[in-house]
Amino acid sequence: MGEYFLQQVANALSAGSLYALMAVGLAMIFGILRLINFAHGDLMMIGAYLAAFSLFAGLPLPAAIVTTLAGTIVVGLLMERIAYRPIRGGPDVAMLLTSFAVGQILQNGTLLVSRLGGQPVQIAFPAPELLNGVVAIGTLTVPKVNVVSFFTGVVLLVLLTLFVTRTRLGLSMHAAAEDLPAAQLMGIKVNRVVATAFAIASGLAAVAGFLYATQAGQINPYLGFTPVLKAFIAAVIGGFGSISGAAIGAYALGFLEVIPTALAGIADILPPGSVSPGVHDLLAQLLPSGLASYRDAFVFVFLILMLLFRPNGILGGRAREEAP
């Protein structure tokens, strides 16, 4: 038994890491600005394109990674400076709508640039040699990129946690997220704190974009849409606005998503003889095709139940107290 399940666990951990890289960025920006930045997925897409073009240009992997990170961070900072700063403090819905507009601009801008460069809409991602192939763990074979995704996610989350809890800038960020005007009265430079949050979120999105593109094998200007939705769901499950909540929600989402697929293997782990061979065969035949395609529906049902019974998320506890 078990191999099929372990495979699903490996998938869940790898997907969870990617969701986490996106979700913590989303949560960090929401925490400070009360902005759900739906253009965050497009930052990930920008990261994927920058990685693709760097690798096409023949840059060695470290240089490609640096270019991807730096380029995406610059785009993220420009986004904050040009689109969000002027309407900061405005109605939440204005910021939300602006984020959709920013997303459209980034998608169509990327499309324009890649068409001008003679590229098709869908580009095969030149995955670096290093990330190709599989890793054998016992009887299990996992694509190398999934293993790298998992560990990269964990390492970056640990570094982020250290930054947020151990540095003055991290403390300022926490204060700004809890009460922005009060943080201003401390003498905290809010612009700097917001820019730092955008820079970190963009960097994490760039890493996610690189890994996602390597896993998917191809990229297009719209690839950020599903990941940002997933990251949003992860952040809601975890308790919106909290970094640790978003990370926990992301891994929870990773596991939720494999449950329908994993159930297909349930016939294999039932103790032998506990069901008649006929039922066993029936389960084995019905469940895979029957459930795996309901993956997203399953996740959304869970999300709805979550919002009904625990609207503040896993870490949210009771309704958060509002400043008077």
């Binding site: 003055r168 403390l171 300022s172 926490h174 204060a175 809890e178 009460d179 005007p181 009060a182 943080a183 201003q184 009265l185 401390m186 003498g187 905290i188 430079k189 809010v190 107290e321 400043a323 008077p324």
Partner: protein, 233 residues
């Protein structure tokens, strides 16, 4: 030290301040009294740069600051302890205090944490406790201590006695008098007019965005109109 001249502030179409002028001299404790919505807190928020005046000037030690950002104003030596305390409830007492001194070096902040511990022994016992778990009076102590961490020369103190039990109100005002004795200049906004006029040197009375009375606190205490409106005699 601080001069407000013909200050006008709007919230959208609502006029919050209509030509407020006031002065605070070095070492003075000046109170602004008046009912809810008179514009007292708005005045303090405008001084600390959270709000922008549509007209008028604010000078601090001769320098105009009405267009300066809040972090610059803090650097100049003005600290604003806001209404409702606004402590960071999920951060510890120590972290709240560190944030108060965020513009100063870690070594200076460490030294000042000691000083705060001596001034407020209650806080020293609770350094590692989340701010939100403190009692109302302790939170007010923390809010004042946090405002002092930037080593201000002018403290803007907004409604420090709001919602506190009488015994805590006494304690808070004892702290305020202490700070005054140490030479800190204080601009105090307070609905507790009795107490405010007891500790203040001078006071301004505000009504619907304007200053209607001003003078030495002792004189205002015996002003028939102030007595009738605010002291309930």
């Amino acid at each position: 030290m601080l001069e407000l001249d013909d200050l006008h502030v709007h919230y959208g179409n609502i006029r919050a301040l209509e030509g407020v002028s006031l002065r605070v001299a070095e070492g003075e404790l000046v109170a602004i009294i008046g009912s809810n919505g008179a514009g007292k807190s708005t005045t303090l928020k405008t001084i600390s740069g959270l709000l922008r005046p549509s007209r008028g000037t604010i000078r601090y030690q001769g320098v105009p600051i009405e267009r300066a950002a809040t972090d610059q104003i803090v650097r100049l030596g003005i600290s604003h302890c806001p209404e409702g305390r606004r402590i960071f409830g999920r951060l510890t007492v120590r972290e709240n205090l560190i944030l108060g001194g965020i513009q100063r070096s870690p070594a200076e902040v460490r030294a000042d944490l000691e000083m705060v511990g001596e001034l407020f022994p209650r806080l020293r016992e609770r350094m590692n406790q989340a701010g939100g778990t403190l009692s109302g009076g302790e939170q007010q102590m923390l809010a004042i201590a946090r405002a002092l961490m930037s080593r201000p020369r002018l403290l803007l103190l907004d409604e420090p006695s709001l919602g506190l039990a009488p015994i805590m109100v006494e304690r808070i005002f004892a702290v305020v008098e202490d700070l005054k004795r140490q030479g800190l200049t204080i601009l105090l906004v307070e609905q507790n007019v009795h107490h405010a006029l007891d500790v203040a040197d001078r006071a301004y009375v505000m009504e619907t965005g304007r200053i209607t009375h001003e003078g030495p606190a002792a004189a205002l205490r015996h002003d028939p109109q102030v007595e009738r409106s605010y002291l309930g005699h």
